[in-house]
């Protein structure tokens, strides 16, 4: 009796198909990771910023939509099916504003300002889509600054960008979690370095402390800090140029001010 055994033959042509041994293993890893990505819940925290507090009592207001925000991917072929970063973003805003001002309960006491963040846009890319071997996340927020009577004082649009260092990749979920945390940290860094220098905030501080010398109220560092800010990107796009523009530190001509619109 003759038993036929199948013979598996694999030919790797490094030069012709342009794949190296190293690249092949990375590609396999990336494909494996991409196949596993689905529902991700972002877990992480942002440190309390090392900045001088402005003498304002701030009330944080999170809408139900914001508190329950989950990004749901509509395209079936993409790497992510949903990303829940509701708790992570609330944690970030709480940590940042607790370092920037005094957080008060809106029902309990008098506050000078209410801050109501809103997610305007969220985008992501995965290695299977860009061939860049990295996971990237963009988040765009509108931060509404409201007066004590809930009338609008100003709007502030902030964009955060985060990507995963490839060396940390252990799974797609962890990679997205890491990228989201970097993006939230980026948003927090912009808020922390630019909040006190905004004209509307300076006016509010000045009006509150009109009886006190301004120098005691507004830290001198604030004016200097605002000189080194970031040129905002007009729209979120997923091209590498946008990534560069979004992440490059440049020196603007003038201070960025809050929009009254």
């Amino acid at each position: 009796m003759h038993i036929f055994f199948p013979r598996i033959h694999l030919n790797i042509d490094f030069y012709r198909i342009g794949l190296r041994f190293k690249k092949l293993s990375i590609l396999s890893l990336v494909l494996l990771l991409s196949a596993c990505a689905s529902k991700v819940t972002v877990v992480g925290s942002v440190p309390t910023p090392l900045v001088t507090k402005v003498p304002l009592n701030v009330s944080m207001s999170y809408t139900d939509e914001f508190k329950n925000y989950v990004y749901v991917e509509r395209e079936r072929k993409r790497a992510l099916s949903s990303l829940n970063f509701a708790d992570a973003q609330i944690g970030m805003f709480d940590a940042i504003f607790s370092g920037l001002a005094t957080i008060v309960d809106p029902d309990a006491g008098i506050h000078d300002l209410t801050i109501e963040p809103e997610v305007l846009d969220f985008q992501y890319t995965a290695p299977s889509e860009t061939k860049l071997k990295q996971y990237e996340i963009w988040i765009k927020y509108r931060i509404k600054l409201l007066n004590t009577d809930n009338s609008k004082l100003a709007d502030w649009t902030i964009k955060g960008y985060g990507k995963t260092p490839t060396a940390l990749l252990t799974s797609a979920s962890k990679a997205f979690n890491s990228a989201a945390n970097v993006a939230l940290r980026d948003v927090g860094a912009q808020l922390a370095t630019r909040f006190a220098g905004q004209r509307k905030i300076r006016d509010l501080v000045a009006s509150k402390a009109s009886s006190e010398p301004l120098a005691e109220v507004l830290p001198s560092a604030v004016t200097a800090q605002i000189e080194e800010t970031v040129v905002p990107v007009d729209e979120l796009v997923t091209t590498s140029e946008a990534v560069q523009a979004s992440a490059t530190v440049t020196e603007p001509d003038s201070d960025e001010e809050l929009s009254d619109e």
Binding site: I12, F14, F21, P47, T48, L50, T52, G188, A189
Partner: protein, 238 residues
């Protein structure tokens, strides 16, 4: 009678094979060029002072590997006994948001602006941070060639062929003095290494540790930078 001799011969053979294998594994070489610019004759510190090694990440293209930053920090820690090296993650978290990708000062003059924030200045003083060591650059694969065929069947399997690729590291380290807010030195490293995978039944990877070699070279140079000075042979370690 001959059994112990045979066993000894087998043991010796295995040892020789092991040594040969190890030497083959280590035979993928890396060429390193290191340049140093000393902008200040002496660098000084006192026992208990600290230094931080930070990677540059200001654009998607400039993403210095955390592993390299940590490796250089380790080399400095071992080479400079009296100075404490602060971990990058610990430092960046402690000084959040001033040393993030978007906000980190790119020049000493910008560091001065960061120090205008009194809390930052106080914390730097509290942690006794004397020097910043900024590392910028990356290791990339620049060239590849070769082909390999692998087969597997009921009688066994094996690979035949040859593949190779070249990795290039290009890093620049800049040292800032926190007290004077000046750049005091610069160490540039260029490392090129070729890795090979010859396969005769079993693929044998002969990997060039380019990033590791760049770290070793740069680390040694930085240790020398902090322990010596040019010209007069002044020892700056206090």
């Amino acid at each position: 009678m001959n059994k112990p001799r045979k066993q000894r011969a087998i043991k010796n053979g295995a040892k020789i094979l092991g040594i040969l294998g190890l030497s083959l594994l280590m035979s993928a070489c890396t060429t390193i060029n290191i340049d140093q610019v000393r902008l200040k004759d002496t660098v000084e510190w006192q026992k208990g002072d600290a230094m931080v090694v930070l990677g540059r990440h200001q654009t998607p293209e400039i993403q210095t590997e955390a592993s390299l930053v940590s490796c250089i920090g380790g080399k400095l820690q071992r080479g400079t006994n009296d100075i404490r090296i602060i971990d990058e993650r610990e430092f960046v978290d402690a000084f959040y948001p001033w040393f993030e990708a978007r906000t980190a000062p790119l020049r000493p003059a910008k560091l001065k602006k960061v120090l205008n924030e009194p809390l930052v200045a106080a914390k730097l003083q509290e942690m006794k941070v004397k020097y910043f060591v900024w590392v910028e650059g990356s290791t990339e694969t620049t060239n590849s060639s070769g082909s390999m065929t692998c087969s597997i069947g009921p009688g066994g399997g094996g690979c035949f062929g040859f593949g190779s690729w070249e990795d290039t590291s290009d890093y620049e380290t800049t040292i800032w003095d926190v007290a004077t807010l000046e750049e005091v030195g610069r160490v540039s490293t260029e490392a090129v290494g070729t890795s090979y995978v010859p396969a005769f039944v079993v693929p044998i990877p002969l990997l060039a540790q380019v990033e590791g070699d760049a770290c070793n070279g740069m680390g040694r140079q930085l240790v020398r930078f902090f322990n010596e000075s040019d010209g007069d042979g002044l020892k700056t370690l206090k």
